[in-house]
Every structure is written in C-alpha cells, then in structure tokens.
C-alpha cells in the first residue's frame, strides 16, 4: 500500500519591535541575564499589560502578506500553565478571535506550485529561558526574553512532504524578512517551527493519528525530522502497529525523533479572555494604511524578475530570497542592463565570496555601482572574464574600483589587432610540430595555441580576438 504524509506546521516568529509586547523593556539581544526586565515582564503582583501597537501592526502586516482575513475585533486570552520561565504562570496569547484567520501561501517545489492554507496568525508573548547547571541540580532563569512579541502562524494540514514543508518555511521566512518584522534566524530561535505529522493510505480522506514534532532548529533539520517521522509512522502501520499521539523531539545528532514523556506535557491551558486587556480593534483605516505600506513580496518579485529580466526561475528565486540581494541585483542591472550577466556574476562570484567571508549583502564591500563598472569593462572587451575574476576578488578584499585595480596591475586587455597578429604568428612559428599536427586534423590543438598566446600576454589578450586571429593565421599555412 502507498502512504501519504499529512503535515501541518506551527511557526513562532519573534517580532523586531524595539520594546516588548506589553511593557517598555528593550528587546535587545545578548544583555546580562535579567537586565532587560521590569515589574511588568517580571509578573510582579499588581502590574498590568499595555499592548505595544507596533507589534499589533507587524502582525497585521504579516497577515495581509499571507492573504489572511483581519478580525476587526480581536482579543487576547490567557494560556495558563506553570513553568519557571513564565513569571505570571500564564502566557498572554490569543485563542478565540485571533488577529487574523484564513490565509494562504504559495509554494513552488519540484512538483510544481501549490497553495498552503493558513488557519490563523496571532500575537502572543515569549517566555524566558532556563539555563541548567550541568554540574548541580540547579537551574537559572533569564527573563530578558520574557514578553518579547511573537507571532504564531498555524498552517492547515495541507503539506504533503518534507520538501513542501521546507519550501513553505522558506517562503514564510522570506516574507517575514521582506516585511522587516523578523530576522528569521532559526539557530538563535527567533524563527521556530513545530510540526504535526500523520500518515494515511493514499486516497484516504480521514486523517491518521498525529504526532507533534519539536526541536528542529534549521530548515534542514525540519526536513530530516519530518522524513524520519513519516518513515517511522509508515513502518509502524505496515507492521500492523498503532501510532501513539504524543510529542516527539528531534535529535539533530542522530537525525531521529524520540518520545517526550507525554504525561508531563498533557495540558489543559484553561484559556479565557484576558480581563486586563480590552478587546483590540483593528480599524479598517489602519488595515488599509498597512496594506499600502506592504513592499513587493518575494513571490511577486520573483515573477517580475523572470518576466522583466528574462532570467531563469531558479535564479530569480535565489536573487529574491532576500530583499537586500534583490535590491542589489536591480541596482546593478539599472546601471548595466544585461540582467543575465549580472545574475550570473552575483550567483557565482559574489555569493561565493559572501558565503566565505560570512558577509551579508548589506555589508558587501563591492557596491552595485562598482560591480556594474566591472561588468561593463568585461562587456566592452577591456578585460577578459578571467582577469575580471581576479579584479573582482581584489575589489572584494580592498573595496577599490575595478579601474584603479586594472591600472595598478596593468591588466587592461590587449585588443590591438596588429599586436595580437604579431604574437600569434610568433607562437605558431615557435611550435612547428603542433602546427603540423593541427593541419593534419588535430583541431583540438587550438586550445594549446590560445594558451600560448595568453601565456605570452599574461592573460591580457582579448580571447575572442585571439581565437579569430589564430584561425586565420593557421588557414594561411
């Protein structure tokens, strides 16, 4: 029997507001433990929350970008559970009447395009962090993160494969980063993903028993964890065994999932409307303002890059993965309107160096103007592609303009017909046996002659002209 997987994802994204969700503490990362706190986020007796409107606006932006319906009246609820990283022992979240519902995201995989439904996008507050002492039975609590605003994005169980899950996550992340509302860092936990997974015989409508998967802190781990879990469930079913509804933790060291003791985590959260926060009204005028402020989103941009610049969809996908990279591309193309060439250079040379140096595109030492100038020199035939790569590396290391580097090192391409003819004749004269073999039909030796010319000119000869000239000179023989 063939099985198919049914996957729903729950994503938590930390919002990039300056202050926390319900108090004025900073959200800055990396301060001394418990220094970014106040009586409110510490859950002291008598304190009250006041909603950070910026966090609400960020949530509405994400909801609009994901085609969600905005609930004009929505409200916060308390999710009650005891844990030392949660000072009030309840989390301010949303339950009935979230900020938004019923959206979707388009993804593209090797199987083509698909639409993944979103159940809801709501706002809530983050918990603190427990730091466990390895040597003693002691844990420390750091409440700096307590109260940082989060959005929770819940997908419909529309996802059918780990590949789709990966594509969905990448798409969501790209949108969040485009909107400038989340830094999307999975390793540091500002973008987190839990998954609900079940399998069922292909063609079956009813859902199988699901497990909840946690602790997958990279895109790769999500895909690996899901694949392991799907395989595990299918094997169990094939062996005639039952799936246990439970929470399972992904172990990145082994690539497997293992059961968390289920009893300790069986919660009744006793949700009820938070009486400290009145129902929130998202005025239609605000929604319209936020809608008008939405930037071009990755999917639209990708499509436009394909249509407007004629570059392959894959390239467009890479270039639009970050808003800054797409901007860099567009600025370069504006100055040097050969999009394919620009795209090739960005995707090979630039990405190679950025990755190697762990630079982001925003701290790239070569400006769009500088790259355009370099490519223009190549295009005009002033320098060869090979030399251009050397010049590029120098530009990346020093930040200098290409023209300065070329002048300094005397790298201008030799495109003088007379000079090149002379060199070509000299090379042929110096290698009579090779010329003989060539004339007997070993035309592959052309490469050898070109190489010799390049050697003599230290690579500065215009390769297209060299080819042409050699061909003519050999014909004469």
């Amino acid at each position: 029997m063939d099985y198919e997987a049914v996957i729903g994802l729950e994503i938590h994204a930390q919002l990039l507001t300056d202050s926390k969700a319900f108090c004025s503490c900073t959200t800055r990362f990396g301060a001394e433990p418990n220094s970014n706190t106040c009586p409110i986020c510490l859950g002291m007796p008598g304190v009250l929350p006041v909603l950070n409107r910026k966090a609400l606006e960020f949530t509405v932006k994400m909801a609009l970008a994901c085609n969600c319906r905005i609930n004009e009246f929505n409200r916060f609820a308390r999710k009650n559970y005891y844990y030392p990283d949660l000072p009030k022992n309840y989390q301010i979240s949303q339950y009935e009447l979230p900020i938004s519902e019923n959206g979707f995201v388009e993804i593209e995989t090797s199987q083509g395009k698909r639409r993944i439904g979103l159940t809801r996008i709501h706002m809530e507050e983050d918990a603190g962090k427990l730091i466990h002492d390895e040597t003693k039975p002691v844990s420390y609590v750091d409440l700096n993160r307590t109260g940082v605003p989060l959005i929770e994005i819940v997908s419909e169980p529309d996802i059918r494969s780990p590949e789709e899950a990966g594509a969905f996550l990448r798409e969501l992340r790209a949108v969040l980063v485009y909107l400038g509302i989340c830094d999307g860092n999975m390793e540091e936990g500002s973008f987190r993903c839990d998954a609900n997974v079940s399998v069922r015989p292909k063609g079956e409508q009813a859902l199988g028993i699901k497990t909840e998967l946690k602790n997958m802190n990279s895109f790769r781990f999500v895909e690996r964890g899901l694949q392991f879990e799907i395989d595990r469930q299918i094997e169990l079913l094939k062996a005639g065994e039952r799936i246990v509804q439970e929470t399972r933790l992904f172990d990145s060291a082994t690539g497997t999932t293992a059961s968390m003791r289920s009893k300790e985590y069986a919660h009744d959260y006793r949700y009820f409307p938070d009486p400290d926060l009145l129902p929130i009204r998202v005025e239609p005028a605000l929604v319209e303002r936020l809608r008008s402020e939405l930037p071009e989103l990755p999917t639209e941009k990708k499509l436009r890059f394909v249509n407007e610049f004629g570059i392959p969809a894959y390239d467009a996908g890479v270039l639009t993965a970050s808003r800054e990279l797409a901007l860099y591309f567009e600025e370069t193309v504006k100055l040097f309107p050969k999009p394919k060439m620009v795209s090739n250079w960005i995707m090979t040379e630039l990405m190679r160096r950025l990755k190697g140096e762990e630079h982001g595109i925003d701290s790239c030492p070569i400006s769009a103007e500088q790259l355009a100038a370099l490519l223009r020199l190549v295009d005009e035939g002033s320098i060869s592609g090979k030399i251009a790569k050397t010049v590029f590396d120098e530009m990346f290391d020093t930040g200098k303009d290409s023209s300065a580097i070329i002048e300094e090192k005397g790298l201008v391409q030799i495109s003088d017909q007379g000079e090149l003819v002379e060199i070509a004749r000299k090379v042929l004269e110096d290698n009579p046996s090779e010329v003989e073999k060539y004339l007997e039909g070993k035309t592959k030796l052309m490469g050898f002659f070109v190489g010799q010319v390049m050697k003599v000119t230290q690579g500065k000869a215009n390769p297209a002209m060299v080819n042409q000239i050699l061909m003519e000179e050999l014909k004469k023989r």
Binding site: G43, M44, P45, G46, V47, N80, Y82, P84, R270, P275
Partner: protein, 486 residues
C-alpha cells in the same frame, strides 16, 4: 472639643490652610489614636509611624511654601493590596508576608503627588476574598462599634480605621462589595467608582474585570476630595477610561429636588431584616422630603448575579494568583522534592482556606469541557445584568437599595458556611458585575446599636450624582456624625 483625629479631611484641610494646625500635629494625633485602640481593633497590617511623620514634615514644608494641594498633609491608610514601593504589601496573605514591591501603584503615586501622609496599610480579607476581614493571615479586624462583631470585608481594616479615628480617610478596593459592605458595617461612607475610573495599576489583582479602588471616609465631602485625586486616566492600565472627570466637590451642594430614584423590586423583595427594612424606609422618607420622587422598577436578571459572580471572580483569581509559586518572591515552602513539589507545597502552605477554595472553583470553571457551561454562561449573565441596569437608568437618576441584608454579624458566625458568607454581598455584587459606581453611606442603626448602611447606585461615570445624593442625605441626618465609644 474634638481631637484632631476625629475631624474630617475637609475640615482638617481648612485648618491647615488657616494654620490652625500642622500636618505633623494631625499625624501625631492619629498615630496616638492608633497606639490607643489598634490592639483592640487590628485595623492595620503595617503602620510606619516614623515615615508618616517624615511625610507630614514634608507636607508642612509644602504648605508653608504655598505649594499645597487640597489634601496635602492629611493622613491616609491604604489597603494592604496596593503596592507602595519599598513597603511591605502582603494582601493579608502568608504567601506575600515579606513582599516589598519595587514600584508604586498609580494610586500611591497620586497620593504622594498630592502630599498626603501615608500611615500604613490596612487589614483585609486574604487577597480581598471575603466579606468579614476574617480570612486575613494576620487575624481578623474587629468592628469598632462592637469588637465581637466583624467590620465587613474585604476592606474591613480601611473602614474600621476611619470609624475608629485610626485614619482620617482610607482607600479600599471593591470587587463584589468590599468597600461598600465594610463602610456600611462600620458606619462610614465608601464609594466604588465606575470600573475604569481609577487606575488598577499596582492593585494586586483578585478579579481583574471587577476590582476597583475607591475611597472610604466620614462623609460625602471627603469622598469627593479623594475622588478628585484618584479618578483619572492611566496609560498603564488598559482598562482605565480616558475621559474628563469633574471636580466632585462641586456636586456637594447641588439640590436633589426633582431627581428620580429607582427602587428595584428584586432588591427589596428579599429584605427580611426588620432593622434594615426600617432604615430603608427612613431613607426613602428623607429623600421624599427633599423633593425626590421614586419609581418602582425591575432588574429581572439580578437573581443570577451572585452565582455568575462566583464563576467569574474565582476564574480570574485562579489565573491572577498563579504567579505566587515560591519561585520569584514571597513565601517558599522549606521542604520539597523537586520543582512541582515546591510549587504545590508553597501554595498549599502559603494560601488560606478561602483563597484555595476560590482558586479551585475558578480552575474548575475554566477547565476544558466546563468553560462553556460556566464561564461563558456567567459572562452572558453579566451582559444581561448590565443591560437591566442600563434600562433602569432610562427611568431614574439613581437606584437606592440596601448595602447588606443584615447588620454586622458575630466574628466566626459565618466562617464555616461559605454560602451564607457569600450571600452577605447579594446587594453589592450586581453593581460590580455591571461596572457601575455605587456608594454606601450611614443610614441608621440596628436595635443593638450597630451601623446599617444604605446604598446608592448610578449610571457609568455618574459618581458626581452619588456625591450629590449622599451629601444631601447627610445634611438631613446625623448618622455619619456618630462615633463608636472605644
């Protein structure tokens, strides 16, 4: 001649302005009174005499510099659930027995800005859960009119202190009657303002959607003076209502002639106590003589108010009190085995019986499978009750009803019978459920010489009308002038 501690805040403020006395003299007089009778009554959880004198000295400097405000230099006591930076705030609970807030509640900030002298914090039912001030971890407060009797609750310490002269005025908090009931039982005036009129920031929460801070004083004039200070929008409290609040003192001398007072039959049908009946009849007589007319009306859902309250308040309490877990502050059990056991033991040992009862009630009502049947239904009843009142106020300017079904009862009398205890609040709870302002003022005495209060209720943000009606009543009566002999 009266001692300084026996005067009203309004009169003392005049004496301060005319330099007949000083804040230090007033404060010392009250502190001496505390020394004399506190042992008998137990109105306070904490008195801070040195600090009070310091505040009085500062107030005198302000007054001398011509920088005084209307109540600068007047001694006040706050209820032990209002955070006062650096001062023990216990909610009369063992679980917060050593808690010193790192911040000021908004009302304390406002008092400080006014230059009021804070004497200390008044006793109360543990976490404001109770009608008799008997559930306090520090022991019960006694009624100054008869020390065998309860003072009412939960702001029993605040009301008894005003009655006994252990404070000139006080602040209480009212979730289901906790200002009005003890005010009535102690023969003083107390107002619960409209929900949202006074900031709850720094008021240790019992039931957030019902809690409201309000003044307790000897007469309507002092109530108005305190309202002028504490009413106002606070951006730190999302439920605080941004609006302009009037100068309440302007309503003290407005005639009430031509006003219409509603008499909801559901309130009076239940009235069995002959003393309370007589006091209510007398009150009607006085208002009639002032040119007020009466309309009989009905609040059809009133009978469900108590039941709905005992779902909503405990539900909110079960969540509000979850933070007291022994992890961060307050009481932590000494012996425990692991984290969960520490939670359980700290809470089991730190909370009293009534608090635990309400936490359990609320936890149950919010549990999945019960939420719709209890919490949601109670919330709907609340809306119906609010609508009942809204309709009623289309026909009248205010409602007159009893504050409590009986005069004060004996200490211990209802401690083993929670239902009987809960019924004490049957006339006050509906007012909280609808978020309305309500005021209790002395209306007379029982045959045993115990105070009985009458209650006035107005529409949202019509506190001024309550001040007007009670001031008019007090011009015609002297119940509020009587003092217990101690």
């Amino acid at each position: 001649m009266l001692a300084l501690y026996e005067y009203t805040a309004g009169r003392l403020a005049e004496m301060l302005r005319t330099k007949e006395t000083s804040s230090v003299e007033i404060t010392r007089s009250v502190l001496e009174r505390i020394d004399a009778v506190e042992e008998k009554l137990r109105c306070y959880v904490t008195v801070s005499p040195e600090e009070a004198v310091k505040m009085a000295e500062e107030a005198d400097r302000r007054l001398a510099a011509g920088d005084g405000k209307p109540l600068t230099g007047i001694p006040i006591a706050i209820k032990d659930n209002m955070c006062w930076k650096g001062h023990r705030t216990t909610c009369a609970s063992k679980i917060l027995h050593n808690f010193h807030p790192p911040y000021d509640s908004t009302v304390v900030r406002l008092l400080k800005e006014e230059g009021i002298v804070i004497l200390g914090s008044a006793n109360m039912d543990e976490f404001a859960m109770g009608s008799s001030t008997e559930t306090s971890h520090w022991g019960p407060t006694r009624n100054p009119w008869n020390v065998e009797m309860i003072p009412g609750g939960s702001s029993g310490g605040s009301a008894a202190a005003v009655a006994a002269g252990e404070a000139v005025v006080t602040l209480g908090s009212d979730t289901g009657g906790s200002i009005r009931l003890p005010a009535a039982f102690c023969g003083v005036s107390g107002m619960k303002p409209t929900y949202g009129a006074v900031s709850r920031y720094g008021l240790v929460a019992y039931a957030s959607s019902l809690d409201q801070i309000g003044p307790i004083a000897r007469d309507a004039r002092d109530i108005a003076l305190l309202l002028n200070i504490i009413c106002g929008h606070d951006p730190k409290d999302s439920t605080s209502v941004p609006r302009d609040y009037p100068n309440f003192s302007n309503s003290l001398d407005k005639p009430v002639k031509g006003m219409k007072i509603g008499l909801p039959r559901e309130f009076f049908d239940k009235l069995e106590d002959p003393d309370v009946n007589r006091v209510m009849k007398d009150a009607r007589q006085i208002y009639r003589s002032l040119g007020v007319s009466f309309v009989d009306l009905s609040l059809p859902h009133l009978d469900y108010a108590l039941a709905a309250y005992y779902i909503i308040a405990p539900s909110e309490a079960s969540s509000n009190l979850a933070r007291y877990d022994g992890v961060k502050y307050g009481f932590r059990a000494e012996n425990f085995d692991g984290m969960i056991d520490m939670y359980c033991r700290s809470r089991a040992e730190g909370f009293g019986a009534e608090v635990k009862r309400r936490i359990m009630l609320g936890t149950y009502a919010l549990s999945s499978g019960y939420y719709d049947a209890y919490y949601l239904k109670a919330a709907k009843i609340r809306t119906l009750i609010t609508n009942d009142f809204r309709k009623a106020f289309e026909e009248c300017d205010a409602i007159l009803c009893p504050t409590a079904p009986s005069p004060p009862f004996r200490i211990g009398e209802k401690m083993d019978d929670p239902i009987q205890m809960y019924l004490t609040d049957v006339f006050t709870i509906p007012v909280n459920m609808a978020g309305l302002p309500g005021m209790a003022i002395p209306g007379g005495f029982s045959s045993d010489g115990l105070p009985i209060g009458i209650q006035l209720v107005a529409s949202h943000f019509e506190e001024a009308r309550l001040v007007q009606l009670s001031s008019a009543f007090q011009k015609e009566t002297d119940h509020h002038l009587k003092r217990p002999s101690l």
